[in-house]
Symmetry: C2
Subunit: 246 residues, 2 copies
């Protein structure tokens, strides 16, 4: 049996049900590349009362030892956020299913619902987009079509910022603004919300014009950006608590 257990947003947001499941596991792995750890190994081990084997992305993507072991015993696999929010883990589950291994997912908090902390209503979000680091000969712009299409329908857009954990590169909001401004020739993007370190004790939510927000510093990742669509008056009222100080 393979238990895929979410650590949630900040690492110690692991659900009680997940801690219980881990007690049944003979081995525990952890992989946190899609997010920042924000977890000290020792602290997590003391919460869980288990030794944890930390893995790198390639151990999960390119190797099969996790599913091989889960064929014989209960294996716990800890993942930041909600386990299947990232595609890699869907692939892992698929490999387990192909071997007829039972998989139990224990869901945890995720940026996809936690952005509700801005006061924006989740059912008014359109398709999510990712902004990736442009490469020398490749500057992807398709995310902009999604932003425009959401905007035309009055919907909010969640922008996930690129993470290149292997190079310790985490796109910060100012880098994202630069990319946005390169593609947004007609300056359609005006209001912006920056959400930093959501769920952590030092989280920050800042709302304002993109020009005002460009001069802010945002500290450590992870960050994401929301482009608000049409605002209900309650959403507007809530957002005002996060207005950038001039």
């Amino acid at each position: 049996m393979l238990y895929l257990i979410g650590l949630g947003l900040r690492g110690d947001d692991i659900p009680y049900s997940g801690i219980k499941a881990l007690k049944k596991c003979s081995k525990v792995y952890c992989e946190v590349y899609t997010n920042l750890p924000g977890i000290e190994k020792k602290k997590l081990e003391s919460i869980l009362g288990k030794k944890i084997n930390f893995l790198e992305r390639k151990d999960v993507e390119e190797k099969d030892f996790i599913v091989e072991e889960a064929e014989k015993e209960n294996i716990g696999f800890l993942v930041s956020g909600d386990p299947l929010a990232a595609t890699t883990h869907i692939d892992l589950v698929l490999r387990a299913k192909k071997r007829n291994i039972d998989v139990k997912i224990i869901h945890a908090s995720s940026i996809f619902s936690a952005v509700s902390e801005t006061g924006l209503q989740l059912y008014k979000f359109g398709k999510t987009v990712s902004i990736v680091y442009p490469e020398e000969k490749f500057f992807p712009k398709s995310f902009y079509d999604t932003i425009i299409s959401n905007k035309e329908r009055g919907l909010h857009t969640l922008l996930l910022l690129d993470i290149k954990a292997e190079n310790k590169r985490y796109m910060n909001p100012n880098e994202a603004f630069e990319i946005l401004e390169t593609v947004d020739k007609n300056k359609i993007i005006k209001k912006v919300i920056v959400v930093s370190r959501l769920g952590r004790d030092d989280q920050k939510i800042i709302y304002g014009d993109i020009n005002e927000l460009k001069s802010c510093s945002y500290g450590d990742p992870p960050h994401c950006i929301i482009l608000p669509g049409e605002l209900h008056f309650l959403e507007e009222e809530f957002l005002n608590y996060f207005k950038v100080k001039k």
Copy 2:
């Protein structure tokens, strides 16, 4: 200080960080009307080591005692799912903010990210819709425009089904299919995924043609429905594990 703490999908999915926060609270309330409890009071009290005061929806929406008490002491307020996924709790936070009360949200698992368990990629979901029980002189159909608009863009649609907890009415998938078929004259909706009791030990995910799924029985709530958009081959492969048995 007001701690708004998510219980997650199944009630004992409360995050470890939430259990820690509760230790600082002199009083704990719980309100579960937007979801089914799935929590026995006694079990939860023994997990948390605290007495819990269960509330009804109107206690939260129409009365101010929670924020009044949070002005003077640490109050814990437990909510099913992720606390701000439902609008009522946004309103509660807003009332606290107006009184300058600090609010700490502790996020937990939510249907909005847990639907990833179907293998569908979260960033390919369009706007979420709710299907409500039609009333004698009011048959809301606007949700159908959203379904069509998502479909045209190749996006998946999450359909939340109506809950009238005060009357113990929880819309089941077959009731939802009937409403869908009333508005979908041209039979545009074909493939459907029904997700029942997600995250719980008796969860069910069933995928197939709407006509096949109409004859299934789905057991106890909560349920939701997903209308898949264009499927990536990995999504298709994953969904095949949930195909309805003929």
